[in-house]
Subunit: 239 residues, 2 copies
DNA sequence: GCAATAGTGTCTTTAAGACATTATGTA
DNA sequence: TACATAATGTCTTAAAGACACTATTGC
């Protein structure tokens, strides 16, 4: 009977056929009052010239996990590090990529527009698209339209039962700004009182002591405390 | 400039290094009042003789998507078709498989013990393990222990806000049986009244007109209606 | 009738919805 | 002072928790 060491010495994974494996990310931000997704114009075949999600192949020498692949690709294509990155779902099949049987693990990510505005404006072939105009873009690569829809749905759901949208804001923000982000994601108004109650109950925010001048009464400026995670509420908002 | 057709004609994905890609499933059932996971004794290297999740390589000729890979592997290893199958998460890294950089998309599945008892008893190298004894099994392959933990957590969460546990029951069942499944998954009692309210509100169950003789008052026997999906409640139970 | 399990009634509790009210800044 | 936006108070509502109570069966 062969030992495992013996087996591994002779094992060559490249002799087995394998699907094309990629990692793609749906990066969201809030820009001009609209929820936006970053798309990159594809420089190479296949689907050259089409708009696609930032992503690409795993670099097995540099990436310890596909989380790192997702993060590396976002940094490479945009120059910025998202505030939040979470695995979404893995999409697969024979039809989704013309090169053949393929599999992509999609991530979704959040960033404050203020934290990436200049870097992304520098990248000519990267562009923020409002999620409302996405369905009208004909030249979206592969099944990325479908992936974006799934990501939007996940973001909406998490917005109903967590404070995740803070990651669309800069380090310091007012409650009204948070409310605006949430309402933009959900595409409907929410009760400020409900937000305040959750904000207080979460215990993850602290006052900076500063105030924002908004043209009328000044708003308290808060920040999320360091090293605290976003936890879930046991009910959904708005239903 | 090269056309996409030209590009695809010369494209050979096998010339690029690729991680080892597999699909694994965490199949749950309720057996002897305990939530159990199916593990299969590994016949081949690596980790020969260890207990692992039912799964394996994608067969690109037979599987249209990895969902089908997951389903096919469960059927091959157990002879039964799970009542429910959902993608869990994709796990990746250099360390998790001794053969090298690997990636596995994990699914989680539910089945009624009554619907698979005989088939699985026939399979000598497949065994149901109570989730409570899983941590004590030393010979679990790869990171499957970790994957099982994630699957248990997902199942618990979904049990708090949906009727998903019905898929652990046969087609016809009583409310008390459903309550028992839920309490076993959550490992704590729930209010029967709360269950009844959700059961009624869901609108996805119907009376069969039959009754179960339990030694005392007979219980109504229900079934899930055909072609209806499990929807989510906007609150969690038990908190 | 008694024990056991099935099923209902109803009061309490929790957290969100609605919206009026008060507070504080700028013009 | 008027106005705008920030922040709070408080009543209502929705759905879960608690638990008592009734119903039906086998013995």
């Amino acid at each position: 009977m062969q030992s495992e060491q013996e087996f591994l010495r002779h094992y060559d994974s490249s002799q087995f056929p394998s699907p094309i494996v990629t990692v793609d990310s749906v990066l969201f931000t809030l820009k001009d009052g609209a929820l936006c997704v970053l798309l990159v114009k594809r420089a190479n075949h296949p689907q050259q010239g089409y708009w696609g999600l930032p992503g690409g192949f795993i670099d097995m020498l540099r990436d310890d996990t596909i989380y790192q692949t997702a993060m590396r690709k976002i940094v490479e294509k945009t120059g910025v590090t998202p505030a939040y990155l979470e695995q979404l779902e893995t999409f697969s099949g024979t039809e989704r990529d013309p090169r053949g049987w393929s599999l992509t693990t999609a991530y979704f990510a959040l960033i404050a527009y203020q934290n990436c505005q200049t870097q992304i404006d520098d990248v000519l072939d990267a562009k923020w698209w409002s999620v409302k105009q996405i369905p009208s873009i004909k030249e979206i690569a592969f099944d990325h339209q479908h992936i974006i829809e799934k990501a939007i749905h996940r973001l909406e759901q998490k917005t109903l039962y967590s404070m995740l949208p803070v990651y669309c804001l800069p380090d310091e923000f007012t409650l009204s700004e948070l409310q605006t982000v949430i309402e933009t994601i959900l595409d409907k108004p929410i009760q400020r009182k409900s937000l305040v109650r959750r904000f207080d109950a979460s215990g993850i925010f602290e006052e900076t002591g500063k105030f924002a001048a908004t043209g009328s009464r000044q708003a308290k400026i808060y920040r999320k405390m360091d090293n605290v995670d976003i936890q879930n509420f046991s009910r959904n908002l708005g239903e």
